[in-house]
């Protein structure tokens, strides 16, 4: 009973210092109230704010951890397919060569990006590479255009290169990447876009933490013929014997189309792999940051809680001593 009287005295004394210095005393008081379930009275700012923050940071950490797991599991499946698809274009490069330095009039830059975000910086690097490629390949009498695959690239390139965009393709990631889809897309590009050389910009997947922006060049059949006249690697094509009733230009045309389709397929797969890997590492660092933030918030929360308890004790004791003394 005496203690109850002391507590009441203490509370009355507490009420006055509240207004000039509400922050720590009030915050601490509110923190006591739900834990000790004692009706306290007027307290304003509270540890409630800190507690809400901690709850939301914890949720974010859980979500990013889950996203990382999802990306990791998807990555394993796509990686196998990517490594298998590398064998599709290697014979083409062995036969026709990959000549990024070829000088042609009409260039089309095919930029492969993702539709979804939260995947680190891979889309920005692809766009950067495409823009510098654009600068390199444009000049007098030369024409360069963009074909953009994926939302993220579209959004970034719309900002300053609106006039040079030929086509944009979105919603590609609704189904997992398969050759049929890519070849239909390649067919569309072939039918609608005039080009002498196609430059495909994508992120090649080296390992889970390393993605290299790469450019693959595919030439149109006429340019291949021209280069083969000029000699060099392509000039050896004449030493091959062609069976069937087709001429060399026919075969070259078929080969060039198929090469484009295969290279695009491989590029799409590699980019998908890189996207998943980048998302994994981005979500990983995000959950680590969330954990650190949570630690810091917990420390500050405990400090204010303890300070408030100390303050309340001091007030009570000083109130009691004021009574007795």
């Amino acid at each position: 009973m005496a203690m109850a009287a002391l507590r009441r005295e203490g509370r009355r004394l507490l009420l006055s210092p509240i207004t000039p210095n509400p922050s720590s005393a009030a915050r601490s008081a509110m923190s006591i109230s739900p834990e000790q379930s004692a009706p306290i009275g007027l307290r304003s700012i509270s540890t409630q704010v800190v507690r809400n923050r901690m709850k939301s940071v914890k949720n974010i950490q859980k979500i990013t951890k889950a996203m990382k797991m999802v990306a990791a599991s998807k990555l394993r499946a796509v990686q196998v397919r990517t490594e298998n698809s590398r064998g599709l274009w290697q014979p083409f490069t062995a036969l026709l060569g990959d000549t990024p330095s070829v000088d042609v009039k009409k260039n089309v830059i095919v930029t492969i990006t993702s539709d979804k975000g939260l995947c680190g910086g891979i889309n920005s690097t692809s766009v950067k590479v495409s823009k510098s490629l654009f600068k390199v390949t444009s000049g007098p009498e030369k024409e360069t255009k963009y074909v953009i695959l994926g939302e993220k690239g579209k959004v970034q390139l719309i900002r300053d290169s609106k006039g040079s965009i030929e086509m944009t393709v979105t919603e590609l990631q609704k189904n997992p990447v398969n050759y049929t889809q890519i070849s239909v897309l390649a067919d569309d590009i072939l039918k609608n876009v005039e080009f002498d050389a196609l430059r495909i910009v994508f992120n090649k997947f080296h390992s889970v933490v390393a993605f290299i922006p790469t450019v693959s060049t595919v030439l149109s059949p006429e340019v291949v013929e021209r280069e083969s006249e000029a000699g060099g690697k392509l000039g050896d094509l004449d030493s091959y014997e062609i069976e069937g009733g087709e001429t060399k230009s026919e075969v070259l045309q078929n080969l060039a189309e198929f090469q484009f389709s295969c290279v695009l397929y491989n590029a799409a797969l590699e980019n998908a792999c890189s996207e998943l890997g980048a998302r994994m590492s981005a979500m990983d660092s995000s959950s680590r940051n969330a954990g650190e933030m949570l630690d810091r918030l917990t420390l500050s929360y405990n400090r204010t809680r303890q300070a408030s308890i100390t303050t309340e004790l001091i007030e009570i004791i000083s109130g009691a001593s004021a009574l007795t003394g």
């Binding site: 919603e171 230009s249 026919e250």
Partner: protein, 77 residues
Amino acid sequence: MASAAAGAVAGAAAPFWRAAGMTYITYSNICASLLRSCLKEPYKADAASREKVHFAISKWAQGKPEKPVIRSDTPEE
């Protein structure tokens, strides 16, 4: 397309599909789906899942996109 015309005119006996306006890619896709439909049941469903196509393509003219055309589930073009 310029090279298709060149293929039909300059080449000796352009193949029928080239003359009809298809590219080699389309031709091989049709052949592939014919092959996929020759499979027996459990494998047929697996192969059919590898044939799904869905994307939205939109052409741009003078810096403005036109209405996107959605290509869906048409493995043959």
